[in-house]
Symmetry: C2
Subunit: 329 residues, 2 copies
């Protein structure tokens, strides 16, 4: 039986909760496929040996090596999807946290309406109306945070997802093309009864295929068009940090931000803000919140951020937010 | 509980039986992943609509379309693997059918040895020795058939398998790259409370991404180096048909066959034998047994051969074989 926990999610985050859950099943399926395939690669090599046919034995063994590596890419793909799933969770968590402020606003409005109808002279109405103004202010902040986080993290999540799809595909193409070379080393000219196939002459060529495949895989680099982001402006409390910055620096222009982000996407060094040298604390925080975003290829293929690291980053971010007053109107 | 039927397989086909079974699990995993992913694509579109953010709504809907198509490729991949699995079964069936002739030979040898030890004068020994010669002849044929079928079908199976891997990868790269274009249409510049994001201006651009992806997918052609095969010589009864042909045509050379096969791999029209116009029946049979081999991209991407068709082809092939006397020494 599946868990019923989904029904306990706030209304706002139910849909994303379901997606995150389905992705978990999809990832499980890829892991299962990878596991089966690693086993099959081993079995293929053993079968080849058992045929007693030297050619089939050699080639099936090398084929097994490449098929196991293709399976390994399937597993790395599953791991990368886990990363993307983590980013979706950040949107879902924001959705969950925004629900109470919506509910609170509705609850006060309802109370006011009820009182006005039943006891229109009750002095509590004035008090509730003041509370409603505060609740509306809080709600405005919450909705802006949700909108900002959703757009930023949606882009980040599918940047991860699609880059992982492309990386798996490109690496598997490399491996499969080399594996096809192995097949051409098998001479399938039929023999007559009593004859045997000539001795296998291609041991060296088969070994070379593996060496070439390994070299190509080592040299592989993911090369995709970067996803541009203006979310570098997303400062403390998921609010635009340029509200502060614009008053400090007249040099700020939207096009400026885009070109910065683009260059950040190509450089392995983290994004450095040059327009506002005086807001160091905020900038550092910004690095934490969007460090690996825009440099996916670099960060992803060599050092994927683990779940634990991501949780730590989020906790750190929350701690910073709590120490500072939000820059809101 | 898993079936115990594997243990009832003849020794000779046990290993391949296991591989075919494991591939069934792997295919099931890919089908499950495809199913989940189609669902997620739908859910993503619904989530986007529910956000009330016009930009996210439009882009998540289009993203869903491309993700569903990526999932569809996963499913086509699973179907192509079913094809490859069918070819492995042909090797396994040959292995199973060769086991009795091995067993028969061993049994007669054992009987002779036993009789020679216990009743060396028994006249049955002479009879058994004649039977052994016949059994050995039969076994020689069986082993040659097994070797011929194994090499030919091994190449064919992994030609299918690897071409399917490359096709899935190339199509998913096309789709994922277009999907990344969608992400760049989302402006994630953060807003302050009370503000709303500017109206979505990129409806047309988003629609164009889908149109472009569809066009690229329609124009897609699998282009892999062909797997060369000399198994065109594999005639009736899994024996070389050039035993017949060599006596007819002195123009026959191995290099000749390779170049024929290569050109056959590039042409959509079925392989036509030009060196032996007089052996029409055999040639027709050859078309049946290796029709789609070498023209994988063509046959596979547009009209995958169904299981039913394959069974029919096999049955037809067996019927042809039974009507003809094998060309063996």
């Amino acid at each position: 039986m599946a868990s019923l926990r989904g029904t306990q999610q706030p209304e706002l985050s139910k849909k994303l909760y379901k997606i995150i859950k389905s992705e978990n099943h999809a990832i499980g399926a890829y892991e299962a496929a990878a596991r089966e395939r690693v086993g099959i690669a081993q079995q293929l090599s053993e079968w080849g040996e058992a045929t007693g046919d030297e050619t089939i034995s050699e080639i099936s063994d090398k084929m097994g090596v490449l098929l196991a590596e293709i399976a390994e890419q399937e597993d790395l793909y599953a791991k990368a999807l886990e990363e993307y799933r983590g980013v979706l969770k950040q949107i879902r968590n924001t959705e969950s946290s925004v629900q109470p402020s919506r509910d609170h606003k509705v609850k006060i409005s309802d109370e006011i309406a009820k009182l006005k109808y039943k006891e229109p002279q009750n002095t509590k109405i004035v008090q509730l109306e003041q509370e409603l103004v505060r609740a509306e202010a809080q709600s405005l902040v919450a909705e802006a945070q949700l909108s900002n986080i959703t757009r930023q993290k949606f882009k980040e999540a599918y940047d991860h997802h699609l880059a992982a799809t492309i990386e798996r595909a490109e690496k598997q193409i490399i491996l499969a093309k080399h594996a096809r070379r192995l097949l051409n080393l098998v001479d399938d000219t039929p023999i007559v009864p009593g004859d045997v196939h000539p001795a296998f002459q291609e041991v060296e060529a088969a070994r070379q295929v593996i060496t070439d495949a390994e070299a190509d895989l080592r040299e592989y680099e993911l090369n995709v068009d970067p996803i541009n982001s203006n979310a570098g402006n997303l400062g403390v409390g998921a609010m635009p940090s340029n509200v502060v910055r614009q008053t400090e620096s007249t040099a700020y222009e939207p096009s400026n931000v885009v070109s910065q982000t683009e260059s950040a996407a190509y450089e392995p060094t983290p994004y450095t803000d040059v327009t506002s040298p005086s807001t160091n604390t905020i900038d550092e925080h910004r690095h934490v919140s969007s460090g690996s975003y825009g440099t996916y290829g670099e960060a992803q293929s060599s050092h994927p951020v683990s779940d634990a690291q991501r949780v730590e980053t989020l906790e750190r971010q929350q701690a910073v937010e709590m120490q500072q007053t939000p820059h809101v109107a």
